[in-house]
């Protein structure tokens, strides 16, 4: 435990030093400065290095892993793993729904978790989905947003994990400590459950996203910008899942009709 703590401290110190060294200097030209502020990406030099690293990880680790995974597991098995991963995340979604004051959604999440954990054989089968019991995903980044941390925060790329921003990275870190799996179960079991949760989550995420990431790298002129734009837009949709007007604002830009070609 002491070693883990020391490693944690070292990691945070390393990230802190890296960020300080990797901050982009704001330009002095007013137009360039306006663009710089609009991008909201003061860590761009670091983020670009981390993104290149993540593309390489995807190319040499995630993609071959996903191809092997798809080769050895038939689709029904993959669906079971995906269902189990989703089910074991429901307590975390539940806590966040409660923290966000979304009582109806927390009831839906509980209903889904209860149905799939019992009728769905420990979450292997999505019985709740077949019964039209749907429930949203919730995370602590969203909780922080709902609590009032609304202003956009700088873009931040996490090695191995991918695009994020300061609010969502904070959410991820705090999220480690608000997972009910870590409190409800006794010591050895909870550790196994958490390991199971993170391993299945990793497999499912790689399975869902590694091909998309490969396409972005292959088909973009600047994959870094493409990924940043996609992350921001899809995250904005997630944070405003129930507010269609707020979602629309993100893509309802002016096509500039009046000006002649």
């Amino acid at each position: 435990m002491v070693i883990i703590k020391k490693l944690r401290h070292l990691f945070f110190c390393f990230i802190g030093c890296l960020l300080l060294a990797a901050c982009a200097t704001p330009p002095t030209d007013p137009i360039a400065l306006e663009q710089f502020n609009a991008n909201n990406d003061p860590f761009e030099p670091y983020n670009r290095v981390a993104t290149d690293f993540n593309f390489k990880v995807n190319r040499y680790i995630y993609r071959p892993f996903d191809e092997a995974y798809r080769f050895v597991t038939p689709e029904p098995v993959r669906n079971c793993i995906s269902n189990a991963s989703s089910n074991i995340s429901q307590p975390y979604y539940f806590v966040n729904a409660v923290l966000q004051g979304e009582l109806e959604e927390s009831a839906q999440i509980f209903g889904r978790f209860f149905t799939n954990s019992t009728l769905g054989v420990f979450g292997l089968f999505d019985v709740a989905g077949a019964l039209d019991i749907e429930a949203p995903q919730k995370d602590f980044g969203e909780t922080l947003y709902k609590w009032g941390w609304k202003q956009p925060t700088p873009y931040f790329v996490i090695p191995f994990l991918g695009p994020s921003d300061i609010r969502d990275t904070t959410g991820r870190v705090v999220g480690f400590f608000v997972d009910p799996l870590d409190y409800v179960f006794p010591r050895p079991e909870r550790r196994y459950l958490l390991i199971f949760r993170y391993i299945t989550m990793g497999i499912v995420t790689v399975d869902n996203l590694s091909e998309l990431l490969e396409n972005i790298e292959k088909n973009s002129i600047d994959p870094y910008i493409a990924l940043r734009t996609m992350y921001r837009q899809s995250r904005a949709k997630f944070l405003n899942a129930k507010d269609i007007d707020a979602q629309t604002e993100n893509y309802n830009f002016d096509f500039d009709d009046e000006e002649e070609f």
Binding site: K218, D222, F238, Y251, F253, D254, F255, D256
Partner: protein, 207 residues
């Protein structure tokens, strides 16, 4: 009395026009998708022929000129008419070739339409739909503009990600350190690479 009659008549006329327009944008997208499914994706013809047919549909149904202009943002005003034409051609070619690379991915996905909402700008609407893929519903919003009685697509927003906005951010960032000629050359390279991938996939299937 006459005034009231005229008012009621006007109200009904406008409601009728509004409803007709509303239905038409959705019908337009629906018909386009059905045509592409029937005559491009599921028909047994060569990849080249499929790409040719797809290009014909896209040339008619997508306002490439308006999208190209939106994508270049402030840079559009700074380039010559010939560069504009070259960019529009290269952009269109790249988009078609990239899509052609994914023709094989179609395996009976269904598109369901829900509603229409007004979009910023004259005669523009968002057509809301979902595409069922791997037993999940993916939200797809089509931005459509009606101009001189003709409908054309301006943007496709998949799960909140606008294609036009994505290209805009990418290209304007690229143009900060490069010329429009560099961008056109990159787009041509992308179109060629996509065509190569199609040829390679065909070769792999044969083997």
């Amino acid at each position: 009395m006459k005034k009231i009659f005229v008012l009621i008549l006007t109200f009904f006329c406008f409601t009728h026009i509004a409803m007709a327009q509303e239905k038409s944008a959705t019908t337009f997208v629906n018909t386009l998708i059905n045509n592409i499914i029937e005559n491009v994706l599921t028909v047994n013809i060569s990849k080249e022929e499929k790409t040719k047919r797809f290009e014909e549909y896209i040339s008619d149904a997508v306002d490439t000129q308006a999208i190209a202009k939106a994508v270049l943002a402030q840079y559009w005003r700074t380039i010559s008419p010939k560069e504009k034409d070259d960019f529009v051609d290269a952009f269109k070619e790249m988009a078609i070739k990239m899509t052609a690379e994914r023709f094989d991915m179609y395996n009976g996905q269904e598109v369901k339409f829900f509603s229409e909402r007004p979009a910023q700008g004259k005669n523009q609407v968002f057509v809301d739909s979902t595409v069922n893929h791997d037993s999940k519903d993916i939200q797809v919003v089509w931005r459509v503009r009606e101009k001189d009685g003709k409908y054309q697509i301006l943007d496709i927003i998949i799960e909140g990600v606008s294609m036009t906005l994505n290209y805009r951010n990418e290209y304007t960032a690229f143009l900060q350190n490069h010329t429009i000629q560099d961008l056109i050359a990159e787009l041509k390279k992308q179109a060629e690479n996509a065509a190569d991938t199609v040829a390679k996939k065909k070769e792999e299937k044969k083997n």
